[in-house]
Symmetry: C2
Subunit: 431 residues, 2 copies
């Protein structure tokens, strides 16, 4: 391919194909999002922007990128769609109360952006972006310029340092106005649109469907890796991919000797009567993820040891208490505290991670975290829960004799509470 | 999945599986690199590092990353392998003449790095990276600290601005020593190892194999999109993916009405007798790419218009002249000039892009560019060609009546010249 020419046409052509010519649709597996859905979500997100910018008292936000296949900005898929080769500035601005969406990018690439129909203005440049961008910002003269950098939050940190140095050089004195776009990114990512909620819900439903189907095939004397292989085959049959790294999606944990979490499946650990089986599993369906943990027991209900039942009920109830408490306006860490205190009250040490993270295009979707105020989480747990956020609620306790009990549910925040995307697990599934 | 726990175990487990347990290998398509190959290449690259650092008078290079699935550094796949969740510093240093490789990363993730066996020292932290990293650098007290940022070059710009601010804060007065790692990144990426050259060669051979097979099926009256579909099906049969964005890989261009390059295939352009057919195509095989352009003619050799023959020979000879000239030590732009001058001497306007880019894990692999000294290319074409670089040589000329003629070949730089990875096209392939 010629260096001048590469990735921009992806969007151009797919748009042409889907919207103009109507007939040709690229073959794709069920994990990838179609262009129809992608641009539906992007349009929904664009509608949220004026309010989000006003709430945060921001009048200019620039997504400044180049060659995004090599160095992507995580916000591109929600606000732009597709990739760019040359330096490009996607600018959201409010001037005299009027919200405007402008793109400044390589002339050769501008027709693709024009055809998307999502921008108020597309300005192509020939030799370099500097003059066009500087002139535009001089004229706009915003009070602040939000850029995608953040000390704590990876999804708000899509601007590379080299590109920061470029825009600092280009915009001269305007650099005093630079400010982190983190609150904007959090709101854009976190406030799931109707379409996004439906997509995560479908991914959750499919995950449970696979879990139920696989459980019918679980047998005694099978290794963790063999069980993982069963899941892989079923996912392949269904044309869906894992929501996170394949080697631990699903994570499979059999019996008391397995420390849940860090290690993938082992070849030398086998299912046994009287033992638990656990998985941590999500699929990517239409570009959106699920993230669910389930637990099974090899034996009848009567055979489940009291120690396991107490542990299970502790985890289940901690999740339910957090779900009963969570609603728009509460802080992330306050939700974590509810679950954490319950675990401690039942005689277990507290779990070593956050109660929950957001789920969306990534299994770990960034934004406000339902986590403790520990140094490693920075100020992320201090953020407020908002309507239409989707969170995991997950934790584990370790029993003395029977290993770890761990569950994870996915909830969407409603106007005054939350809703489980699929029914939560309330007792061991016996096998 | 628990936030604490996600992607690090990918490498851990695959290493365990491949190297320790020996039996279980994850199912994968032929496009993805196996862990065996990945770590073979990483070890080969590590062997290059002491010389590369000494040549560039650098005594400390830090790859500083977090949550790489959301925000990757393009150098990770060549020097680290796998992903990290928490802030991690991969440090290459030379002290008292001794080269050393150190990792400082989250304690929970450190066992995975230890098991790789590629680091001299793996230091885990619990609460945060700051103190451990600062202490290490204080003790090392290097003269320079190379970081992955670059104004011009995307593959040397993997450090996000937020992470730059973090390391600036952590290292205090050492920040005066910060310097761009661009020359290191260029050498590491550009100096292809034996294994890498073999992999790109295999990808090129497969590309030509597919081209030849497909050409037997090319017919008159078929649309560009239909021809692209034929390629997609063959790629699916072979289990390989496209080297760049699917919608223009292969790019398909039929006849005089198609401007080669920017647009993907069209449904309303059909192959015709007396017309050309062109593609720009590469596959990803074992993680490495090819990038080749070929041209066909619907008719006998006698029927090819002189205008097309003159154009073809001009492009072919420009590429050959560049290939005859290129060798280690020449500047990128001087190679471009050879081809550009030939095109002009034959009465055509010069092409609007660079003659060639490097190929490797990406179709556009960064580093020195065989391009003109135009503003948009920055100082990248001023770099020197090195042994074992792999470049494309590609250009087009536009005829008055028969559309565009465009070819692209892939060459590896040898000790005193270059070698075509597959035989270059020397005349129209007639259909």
């Amino acid at each position: 391919m010629a260096i001048l020419v590469v990735p921009l046409s992806i969007v151009l052509d797919q748009i042409v194909n889907v919207f103009l010519l109507g007939a040709f649709v690229l073959p794709m597996n069920k994990s990838k999002i179609s262009n129809t859905l992608l641009f539906q979500i992007i349009k929904e997100k664009h509608l949220l922007l004026p309010d989000i910018m006003k709430e945060n008292d921001m009048d200019c936000w620039i997504i400044f990128v180049r060659e995004t296949p090599s160095n992507p900005d995580p916000i591109m898929n929600l606000l732009v769609g597709g990739d760019v080769v040359w330096k490009a500035a996607f600018i959201f601005s409010i001037s005299d109360g009027k919200f405007k969406k402008t793109v400044i990018l390589g002339e050769g690439d501008s027709s693709a952006e024009k055809r998307k129909g999502i921008w108020d203005e597309v300005i192509g440049y020939v030799k370099g972006i500097s003059e066009t961008l500087k002139t535009f910002i001089d004229k706009l003269n915003p009070t602040k310029i939000a850029l995608n950098y953040s000390l704590d939050d990876v999804v708000s940190d899509g601007l590379s340092h080299g590109m920061y140095l470029n825009i600092e050089r280009i915009l001269g004195e305007h650099k005093k106005k630079f400010i982190s776009s983190k609150p904007l990114v959090h709101a854009v990512r976190g406030r799931k649109t109707k379409t996004e909620i439906e997509l995560v819900q479908k991914a959750c439903e499919l995950t449970e469907e696979i879990n139920k189907k696989m459980a019918k095939q679980f047998k005694i004397g099978v290794s963790e890796t063999q069980i993982q292989e069963m899941f892989f085959k079923e996912m392949e049959n269904l044309g869906v991919e894992e929501a996170w790294q394949r080697n631990c999606c699903p994570a499979i944990d059999a019996g008391p000797d397995k420390e849940i979490g860090h290690d993938g499946p082992r070849e030398d650990l086998f299912t046994q009567k009287g033992h638990t089986l656990h998985n941590d599993f999500g699929v990517r369906l239409n570009g959106y993820c699920s993230d669910i943990q389930r637990m099974w027991f090899f034996g009848t209900e009567d055979e489940i040891p009291d120690e396991l039942i107490h542990a299970f009920n502790t985890v289940r109830d901690a999740i339910q208490k957090a779900a009963d408490y969570i609603k728009p306006g509460v802080t992330g860490h306050s939700v974590d505290t509810i679950a954490r205190n319950h675990v401690i009250s039942q005689g277990y040490p507290e779990y070593g991670h956050a109660l929950g993270h957001q789920v969306g295009t990534e299994g770990h979707d960034g934004g406000v975290l339902l986590g403790p105020l520990w140094e490693k989480y920075g100020d992320i747990p201090k953020g407020l829960v908002e309507e239409n956020n989707i969170f995991t609620l997950e934790l584990e306790v370790v029993t003395k004799n029977y290993g770890t009990v761990s569950l994870e549910e996915d909830v969407v925040i409603t106007k005054d509470g939350c809703r489980f995307l699929v029914p939560p697990q309330t007792k061991f599934i016996t096998l």
